[in-house]
Amino acid sequence: MSKPKSKNEWPLWEVFIRSKAGLSHKHVGSVHAADHEMAIENARDVYTRRSEGISIWVVESNQVHANNPAEKDSLFEPADDKIYRHPTFYEIPDEVGHI
C-alpha cells in the first residue's frame, strides 16, 4: 500500500466537511497539496462547489491510524453480548406509560 513517494508528489490529505452548524464533520475524500493551507483551499474547490460546507478539516493521510479490519470481530465482539446496555432489556409495565 505504501509505495515510496516520488520527490515531486505532494502529500495526500483526507478531507472532512461540516455541512451545517449542528452536524459533525464527515469524511468526503482526499486531495493532494503541498501544505495544510493549500489542502484546505483545494478541498474547498473540489468538495464544496455548491455550498456543501461551512467548515473543513484536513488531516495528512499518513497520520490516520485505523484498526485492522481482519481483526474487527475480536475488537468489537465484547459489545455484542451486552444486551443490558439497551433500554429494551428492562421490563416496565405498560400502565407506567412512556419512560
Binding site: 515531486n8 482526499s30 503541498a34 479490519p69
Partner: protein
C-alpha cells in the same frame, strides 16, 4: 479452511449480501486490479473530457452560456479528482495513474477523440455525452466498492445540470434560424453513433463485462444501458424537431423498446487504437498541462519547506 479461503468466503458473502467493500478490507487481487483499471479510466475520461468543451469557453455566445460552460468544465475536473482519490484508496499512486494515461498504458472514453467543431457541439455533448455518462453512472452508484459508489453519488448530483444545459442549447438552436437548426442537426449527426459506442461493445464481445457483473462492480450490461439511453433520448430529439441519423430506428411495439441500426464497431476499434481525429492532440494537451505546471508544484513544495524551516528556527531561538 485456510486463512485465505476464509477471507475469500467473507468477501463473496459481502458481495452476495450487498455489503460494500471498503478500502482496507480483504479483496481478491483481481478485484483490486479491475477496480483500479476501471476507476482510473473513468477519472481520465472526466479529465480529457474537459478539452473539447474548454475549446469553446472563450467563444460562448453569451455570458449566461459562458458561466454555465465554465461551471460544467470545473465540475468535470472535480469528477476526475473524486475518482483519482478513489483509486488511491486501493493503493494506486496518483502520479503513476496519470503517467499511465500519458504513456498510453491507460485508456479514456473514446468519445473525446472527436473534435468539437461548432457551438452546437457543446449543446449535443451536454445532451448526449453527459446523458450517456449519467446512464452509466447512475448504475455505478450501486457498485460494490464503497469509495467508488460514494464518488458516483456525488457525481450524479452534479451531472443533471450538465445534461440540462446541453439540451437547452440544442433546443434554442433547433427552434432558431434555419442555419442554427442545421448546425444542431449536423452536430447530432456526428455525435449520435459515437455516443452509443460509449456504452462499450456488446456484452457478448466484452471481455471485462462478465467478471465485473459477478463482482457487482457493474450492475447492468452494456447493451441494456445502451437500450435505455436510446429509449430516453428518442422523444427528446423528436421534441427538438431533430432527426436521429439512423434509418433503422423505430419503435418495437412488441418489445416495448426501440430497434436500432447496426453499430459500426470497426470505426470504434480504429479510434480506440489511436487513429481518431483527436487522439494525439488530447494526450499532447494533458502532457503539456503536467509539464507546464511542474514549476508551480515545485515552487509550492519549496515554499512549504521554507515555512517549516522558519518555524523551526523561531522555535529554537525562543
Amino acid at each position: 479452511m485456510s486463512k485465505e479461503k476464509a477471507f475469500e468466503q467473507e468477501f463473496e458473502n459481502k458481495i452476495e449480501n450487498e455489503i460494500k467493500i471498503e478500502p482496507r478490507d480483504w479483496m481478491p487481487e483481481k478485484y483490486r486490479e479491475n477496480l483500479i483499471r476501471q476507476i482510473s479510466q473513468h477519472a481520465h475520461s472526466e479529465v480529457v473530457g474537459m478539452l473539447p468543451e474548454a475549446n469553446w469557453i472563450t467563444r460562448a455566445p453569451s455570458l449566461r452560456r459562458k458561466v454555465a460552460l465554465l461551471a460544467k468544465v470545473q465540475d468535470e475536473a472535480g469528477h476526475g479528482l473524486y475518482l483519482y482519490s478513489a483509486t488511491e484508496t486501493l493503493g494506486a499512486r496518483r502520479e503513476d495513474t496519470v503517467d499511465d494515461l500519458h504513456e498510453g498504458r491507460a485508456k479514456y472514453s473514446n468519445i473525446f477523440n472527436y473534435p468539437s467543431v461548432t457551438w452546437a457541439d457543446i449543446g449535443v455533448i451536454g445532451w448526449l455525452v453527459d446523458g450517456a455518462a449519467i446512464q452509466n453512472q447512475v448504475m455505478l452508484t450501486r457498485t460494490s466498492y464503497g469509495p467508488y459508489s460514494r464518488a458516483m453519488v456525488r457525481i450524479c448530483k452534479e451531472e443533471s445540470f450538465h445534461q440540462r444545459q446541453g439540451y437547452e442549447i440544442v433546443l434554442h438552436m433547433a427552434k432558431g434560424t434555419p442555419e442554427q437548426k442545421e448546425m444542431a442537426q449536423d452536430a447530432l449527426n456526428r455525435w449520435w453513433w459515437p455516443s452509443l459506442m460509449m456504452f462499450g461493445p456488446s456484452d457478448k464481445d466484452s471481455k471485462h463485462s462478465q467478471q465485473s457483473l459477478a463482482w457487482k462492480i457493474k450492475r447492468q450490461g452494456n447493451d441494456e444501458l445502451r437500450q435505455e439511453f436510446i429509449d430516453k433520448t428518442v422523444p427528446q430529439a423528436k421534441y427538438a424537431g431533430l432527426t436521429i441519423p439512423d434509418p433503422d430506428l423505430k419503435w418495437n411495439e412488441e418489445k416495448g423498446v426501440h430497434d436500432f441500426g447496426e453499430i459500426d464497431w470497426s470505426e470504434f476499434m480504429n479510434v480506440i487504437k489511436g487513429n481518431g481525429p483527436m487522439n494525439r492532440s488530447r494526450i499532447k494537451a494533458r502532457k503539456a498541462a503536467k509539464e507546464n505546471g511542474a514549476w508551480v508544484r515545485e515552487a509550492a513544495t519549496a515554499y512549504h519547506e521554507k515555512k517549516m524551516k522558519r518555524a523551526q528556527q523561531k522555535q529554537s531561538a525562543a
